[in-house]
Every structure is written in structure tokens, then in C-alpha cells.
């Protein structure tokens, strides 16, 4: 028994030394989630100054209440961080063409009057073709506004009817009593309609983060850090699976080198050889996970539930090692393993929400997500890191990953054993 353990430890030590001597592949895989998440966070978050603003021009040819309402909507407290609004009389299109604005919203003449008379009105939005995301934001917000205004014209028919005579006469100041009557009527209608008219259509994770931070003593994370932490768990899980695959592929490399066959000429069995590769993979994946978690903790400026993190990490490492064993056990050579591994991991990462949050995915993708181990890993670490979850919160994730990992590991060991025997005799 001691002799066999000695052989396995010699094999593991040799593999660790080889990784240390040629670390490029491993280092690149580990750098990937940091660079990817970091770049996205910096691009969209900036150095703690918030997301880049949409430079929106409004050409107000109406000059009435509705025009004011729309302008107010873009300068309101919730929208102000995202919009840099400028009201212009003319020349908006030229500004778009010279690239000094993201979008131009044209409010037509008599917009207010048309709306009160329930006549169709058209808002024109001109987008800057040189930009992609920011004009899209302006378009989406304008669409919501148009919907709300259209609905409001019907819902607020009665109180707005009070205003109509004054609008037709172009009265500049309304009597206080009229304003109070209208305001009360609108308030009542809005209050009744609120659950139906203003459901939370768009949910931003940054909002929930900020809310969580309010109750804690920890300093509020910057927008950059928030974006980084939102993206990082998924990409890190992807990187760990890729790393496991890369490390397990060493078995196929040794097959090609002839060292696999040579080792089997020695006093060791096939099982020892496979065990040593599994242990090396698990060890390096574990150390990498600790490193990535430490970086995430440093960015978040807070700790996570240690029992939850350790248990989830162990389960994830089992899944990482098991998947790598199956892929490399199936493949006949390195090239085949690379192709199979890349395709499987990319599909599982996308369907598991590692790259793009599942909330932004179609329902069909959301339905298949639980079949991907990436989903359980990504969601588990998000729960620990972003929602400050405890061990109890990630028990399902641990259970699924550990079970899947064990099953894959046993199956993978069987395949690898077959592959090693074939490689030894090749």
C-alpha cells in the first residue's frame, strides 16, 4: 500500500514539476477570466464613475406638457445617471451625423394636443449608426415612454379632460384649485393602476446589488466592481472546466510522447497512472479556484461563507475532473480531445449562463440550463458572492455538482483506462 502511494506521489510530483516548468497554457487559461471580466467591467463601468451615458438630443417641436414630461423622464433621478440630455431647437440630425450624440428624439408639433384628443402621434428617433449599445438604450427607453404615454392618455382620461380647456386656450398658469383637482385625480388613478401599469419590466442586477449594499457596513462597491463580480463567476467556472480539460489532456500528450507506455513498463498499474492524473488535475484546479476566489474577494472587498465556498469548490472540482476524464477518455488523440472539449464546454457554458446571464436568454435556453454543470457552478458562486448566501443556500448546487462529478469520474476513469491500455500498446 505504502509502495503504491509512493509511486502515485512520484507521478503527481513529476506532473506538478512539468506544469511548473511549462506553465504557459495554465497561466493563460487562468488569466482569461480576469482579463475578460476586467475588460467588460472597465468598458461598461469605467473607473468607478458609472456606466457611459447616452448622449440624447431632444428636438421639442411641441413645447407642451407631454414634451416636458418626456424631457423630465430622461432627467429624473433614475434615468439621469444613464442619459446626458440636451434639448435643441434644430440641427439635431447634423449632430448625430458628426457623432456628437448617440440619438435624437423628435417630438412633433401638437404632440400634447394630439395625445389629449387621442389622435395618433409619432415620435421620431434617429440613432447614431456608429454606436451600437447606447442608441439601443435610448430606443428602448423611448419605446417604454411611448407605451406609457399612450396608455396614460386612456387611463387618465378624466383628470386630463379637466386640463383640456386650458390647453386649447394656451393659458400659461393654471388656477391652484384646478391643479390640485387634477393632481389628486391622477394620483388616485396611478395608485390604482400601479401594479398593472408599472410592473418591473426590466430588471438590472446592479440595482439589487446597490440595495444589498445599503444595509451593510461594507463600503459600496463601484459600478466597475459590480459589473466585474456579476460577470466573473461564470467566466471563472468556464476557465476552471477548461483548465481541468487542459491538465487531463496531459495523458494524451504522454501517450504521443511514449512516456505513458514507458511508465507502464514500470512497477505501476494503469489505475495508479489515472489516479495520479486525476489528483494533479484536482490539485491545480483547486489552487486555481482559491486564487480566483481570492481575487474576486479582493474586488468585492468582502468575504463569503467559508463552509459554502469550500463545499461548493470541492463539488466543482469533482465535476471539473470528471468532465475532463470523460472527454479525454473518449478522444483518441490530443487534437480530437481539443475539438470535443471546446465544443462541449462552449455549449455548456452558453446554455449554463456562464457568459450571458440566463435572464437575458430565451425561455428554451433557461429550461435546459440546469442540465449544464456550468449553471450550478456559476449560480452557486453568484449566490455566495453577490447575494452573500450561506452553505444552506448552495446545497442544491453542491449536491448536483458532486453527484455529477462522481458519476463522470467513474465513467471517465473507465474510458481513460481503456485509452491508456490502447496507448501503451500502440
Amino acid at each position: 500500500m505504502g509502495r503504491r502511494l509512493g509511486s502515485v506521489s512520484a507521478l503527481v510530483a513529476k506532473d506538478l514539476l512539468r506544469q511548473f516548468r511549462a506553465p504557459l497554457g495554465t497561466v493563460l487559461i487562468l488569466i482569461f477570466p480576469l482579463v475578460f471580466s476586467g475588460l467588460l467591467a472597465v468598458s461598461f463601468g469605467g473607473p468607478g464613475k458609472g456606466v457611459p451615458k447616452v448622449r440624447l438630443l431632444i428636438e421639442d417641436h411641441d413645447g407642451g406638457i407631454v414634451g416636458n414630461l418626456i424631457r423630465s423622464a430622461f432627467t429624473a433621478e433614475q434615468a439621469a445617471p444613464y442619459f446626458d440630455l440636451e434639448v435643441v431647437k434644430e440641427g439635431g440630425r447634423e449632430r448625430i451625423e458628426d457623432g456628437s450624440a448617440s440619438a435624437l428624439l423628435r417630438l412633433p408639433k401638437h404632440l400634447t394636443r394630439d395625445l389629449l384628443h387621442r389622435r395618433p402621434a409619432t415620435l421620431e428617433l434617429v440613432k447614431n449608426p456608429a454606436e451600437t449599445i447606447l442608441p439601443e438604450v435610448a430606443e428602448q427607453v423611448s419605446l417604454v415612454l411611448a407605451e406609457v404615454l399612450g396608455s396614460a392618455a386612456y387611463v387618465l382620461d378624466e383628470p386630463l379632460g379637466v386640463l383640456q380647456p386650458y390647453l386649447d386656450e394656451d393659458v400659461e398658469a393654471l388656477p391652484d384649485a384646478t391643479v390640485a383637482t387634477v393632481a389628486m385625480a391622477i394620483n388616485q388613478v396611478v395608485g390604482r393602476a400601479e401594479p398593472y401599469v408599472f410592473p418591473s419590466v426590466i430588471k438590472l442586477e446592479t440595482v439589487s446589488l446597490a440595495e444589498e449594499e445599503e444595509g451593510s457596513d461594507a463600503p459600496a462597491a463601484s459600478v466597475t466592481a459590480s459589473i466585474f463580480l456579476t460577470i466573473f463567476p461564470g467566466i471563472a467556472v468556464f476557465a476552471l472546466f477548461t483548465l481541468g480539460d487542459h491538465l487531463m489532456r496531459d495523458l494524451l500528450k504522454e501517450k504521443a510522447l511514449g512516456t505513458l507506455r514507458r511508465q507502464l513498463f514500470g512497477p505501476i498499474g494503469t489505475g495508479h497512472l489515472i489516479l495520479s492524473k486525476v489528483l494533479t488535475t484536482a490539485l491545480i484546479a483547486g489552487l486555481s479556484l482559491i486564487l480566483l476566489a481570492a481575487i474576486a474577494g479582493w474586488v468585492a472587498e468582502r468575504g463569503v461563507s467559508l463552509p459554502g465556498f469550500l463545499a461548493l469548490s470541492l463539488a466543482l472540482i469533482l465535476a471539473v475532473t470528471g468532465s475532463a476524464a470523460v472527454i479525454n477518455g473518449f478522444a483518441a488523440d490530443e487534437r480530437q480531445a481539443t475539438t470535443i472539449g471546446s465544443v462541449i464546454y462552449l455549449v455548456m457554458a452558453f446554455s449554463g449562463g456562464s457568459f450571458i446571464s440566463l435572464e437575458g436568454m430565451p425561455r428554451s435556453v433557461q429550461a435546459i440550463a440546469p442540465f449544464s454543470p456550468f449553471y450550478w457552478g456559476t449560480e452557486g458562486f453568484k449566490t455566495l458572492l453577490l447575494s452573500r448566501g450561506s452553505l444552506a443556500d448552495v446545497v442544491p448546487n453542491i449536491g448536483v455538482l458532486a453527484t455529477l462529478g462522481l458519476v463522470l469520474l467513474f465513467f471517465g476513469a473507465f474510458l481513460l483506462r481503456r485509452s491508456v491500455r490502447q496507448g501503451a500498446l500502440a
Binding site: 509502495r3 509512493g6 509511486s7 512520484a10 507521478l11 510530483a13 513529476k14 514539476l17 512539468r18 516548468r21 511549462a22 510522447l257 511514449g258 512516456t259 507506455r261 514507458r262 511508465q263 507502464l264 513498463f265 514500470g266 512497477p267 505501476i268 498499474g269 501503451a424 500498446l425
Partner: protein, 307 residues
């Protein structure tokens, strides 16, 4: 002592090894000589217990290899045909790993590594990564990995393929040194000069069978004084066969449309007689092989080792 008894292995319809038997004593170098594809490497794989034979068995002292392959491999050193090294590691690190795999450790491992490095002439380069080594140096290191744990038996599978003469001499010297220290050595090669110069006994192998076996003198005696003459040209096989049978002291070994292989009775004289008697045949080239192992191989198989 290694004893191979009636060893056979088939791969589909191909009989790679066909009931071979031989015995190698302690301190003896036994050479398996044969062309590529003769079944030498398959025999080696079965001898290590890595490949299960269809029939037969291998014994090392009282140990049945099939019954306890790990125990056998613990006492065995194998030098494979391909250079199987970790190129990112140094020579010393390679040796330390292989030594530790066989249970060596501490000072014993350090001493064993140093000794074997000196033996193969690499002690001055031991701390360099193997990827910087020349082909000959890699071959020498490849050999040393099979010797670092001081095995009682060594199997060497064509350990000198593709190297310069100087490195070859070094390797052959090391093998002789190891055998002189009492190690049982099985050495496969398709180089005649190596087999003749190194091996105490030889098995000539082709198509999975041992065709002849013995010491160099015993094998030479099998050839006798007979020369092997190959005539190259364009022949009618039937006509050539009739013609040759009518010449005294000549016997036909192989008949092909473009080559006739003949054995001639007495050295020198009969070849000249033969040439005079076949002057009417369209002979473009003639090759005379004096009595040698190649001649024996030609006599046994009808083809040369390099064919």
C-alpha cells in the same frame, strides 16, 4: 534468468509472434535479430507483461510474469525503441522521477542518478533541460532511465536507432558493462554488426518465429563455407530453375523474375564456376555474400535483413 516458453500473439489474421521459446542466463546478452515487423517489439511487450500472450508464458527466476507483472517489472529495466523523455525537465529530474517510481529515495536515489549519468557520459549536462540535448544525448539518457534503479534484467528494444556512431559506441559499451555486472540483457536489433559485436547468443527472428538460435560461432557454422550469390536480371523462373539445378555444387535458394538467390558449395571457387556457366543468361548485376549472419538470414528466409 529469463525463460520464454512457446509465446504466441495474433492481431486479427496476423500472427505477430508464433510460438517462440528462448532462455537468457544471468549476465548474458541475448540478441533478437530480425528485420522490422519480425515480431521483436511484440515479444518485448509480452515479456514485460504489458501485452497478454495468446499462448505461452514468460518466467523470471521462479516468478511467472503473468501472475505478478508488477513484481517482475520492479526488477526489470526497459529501454523502449522511441525516445520517451520529459523534454521540459532536466536529465537529472528525469532520472530522479524514474528512480522514485521504482521506490528509490533520498541518498540512494541521488547516488544512483549520479552513477548512471556518469555511465552514459551526461554528468556534465545533468542540469540542462532535455530539449536542448542532441539526438545522441537523448538516446543515451533514454538508456540511462532504464538502468537507474539497477534492474536485474534489462530489455532493450533497438536502442541505437538513428544515432551517430560515437553515441552508438557509448551505448554498446554501457550495455556490455551492465551485463558484466550480472544483469540479464535481452537486446533487439536489426543491425548485424551490433548483434555480432555485442551479443553472447542470438535468435534470428522473422515473421514471428525464431528461425535459428545459438552463439555467433554456432550460427556461423550453420552457414558453413557456403557463399550466397544473388543474380539480378530478367529471368524465366522455370528455365532458370532447370538451368541452375544442372550446375554441380549450386542449390537454388529463391527464384524471382528479376533475382535468383543461390547457395554455392565452396567459397570462392564455385562462384567463379557459376559465372562461367551462366554467361548465356541476361545477368545485369551479381552480388556475392561471404559466409555471415546476413548470409544465414538470406539462406533461411530468401531475403536480406535490410529488405
Amino acid at each position: 534468468m529469463i525463460q520464454v516458453e512457446n509465446l504466441s500473439k495474433r492481431f486479427g489474421d496476423i500472427r505477430a509472434v508464433d510460438g517462440i521459446s528462448f532462455r537468457v542466463e544471468k549476465g548474458e546478452i541475448y540478441g533478437l535479430l530480425g528485420p522490422n515487423g519480425a515480431g521483436k517489439t511484440t515479444t518485448m511487450s509480452m515479456m514485460t507483461g504489458l501485452l497478454e500472450p495468446d499462448e505461452g508464458r514468460v518466467r523470471f527466476r521462479s516468478l511467472d510474469v503473468a501472475a505478478d507483472p508488477i513484481a517482475f517489472r520492479q526488477q526489470l529495466g526497459v529501454v523502449p525503441q522511441e525516445i520517451a523523455l520529459y523534454e521540459d525537465l532536466t536529465a537529472q529530474e528525469n532520472l530522479r522521477f524514474w528512480g522514485s517510481l521504482y521506490g528509490l529515495g533520498g541518498k540512494e536515489l541521488k547516488r544512483a542518478v549520479q552513477e548512471v549519468l556518469e555511465m552514459v557520459g551526461l554528468s556534465g549536462r545533468s542540469l540542462e533541460p532535455v530539449k536542448r540535448f542532441s539526438g545522441g544525448m537523448k538516446r543515451r539518457l533514454n538508456l540511462s532511465l532504464g538502468l537507474v534503479h539497477k534492474p536485474q534484467a534489462v530489455l532493450l528494444d533497438e536502442p541505437t536507432v538513428g544515432i551517430d556512431p560515437q553515441a552508438r559506441v557509448n551505448i554498446l559499451e554501457v550495455v556490455r558493462q551492465v551485463a558484466d555486472a550480472g544483469t540479464t540483457v535481452v537486446y533487439t536489433t536489426h543491425y548485424l554488426e551490433e548483434a555480432e559485436g555485442l551479443c553472447d547468443r542470438l535468435g534470428i527472428m522473422d515473421h514471428g518465429q525464431i528461425l535459428a538460435e545459438g552463439t555467433l560461432d554456432e550460427l556461423r557454422a550453420m552457414v558453413g563455407e557456403e557463399e550466397t550469390v544473388s543474380l539480378y536480371g530478367t529471368f524465366s523462373p522455370e528455365q532458370a530453375k532447370l538451368r541452375m539445378e544442372s550446375i554441380p555444387g549450386v542449390h537454388l535458394i529463391k527464384v524471382e523474375p528479376e533475382r535468383l538467390v543461390l547457395g554455392t558449395g565452396e567459397s570462392g571457387r564455385s562462384a567463379i564456376d557459376l559465372l562461367q556457366k551462366v554467361s548465356d543468361l541476361t545477368v545485369e548485376r551479381i552480388s556475392i555474400q561471404p559466409p555471415s549472419l546476413n548470409g544465414l538470414f538470406l539462406k533461411l528466409t530468401g531475403r536480406e535483413l535490410r529488405d
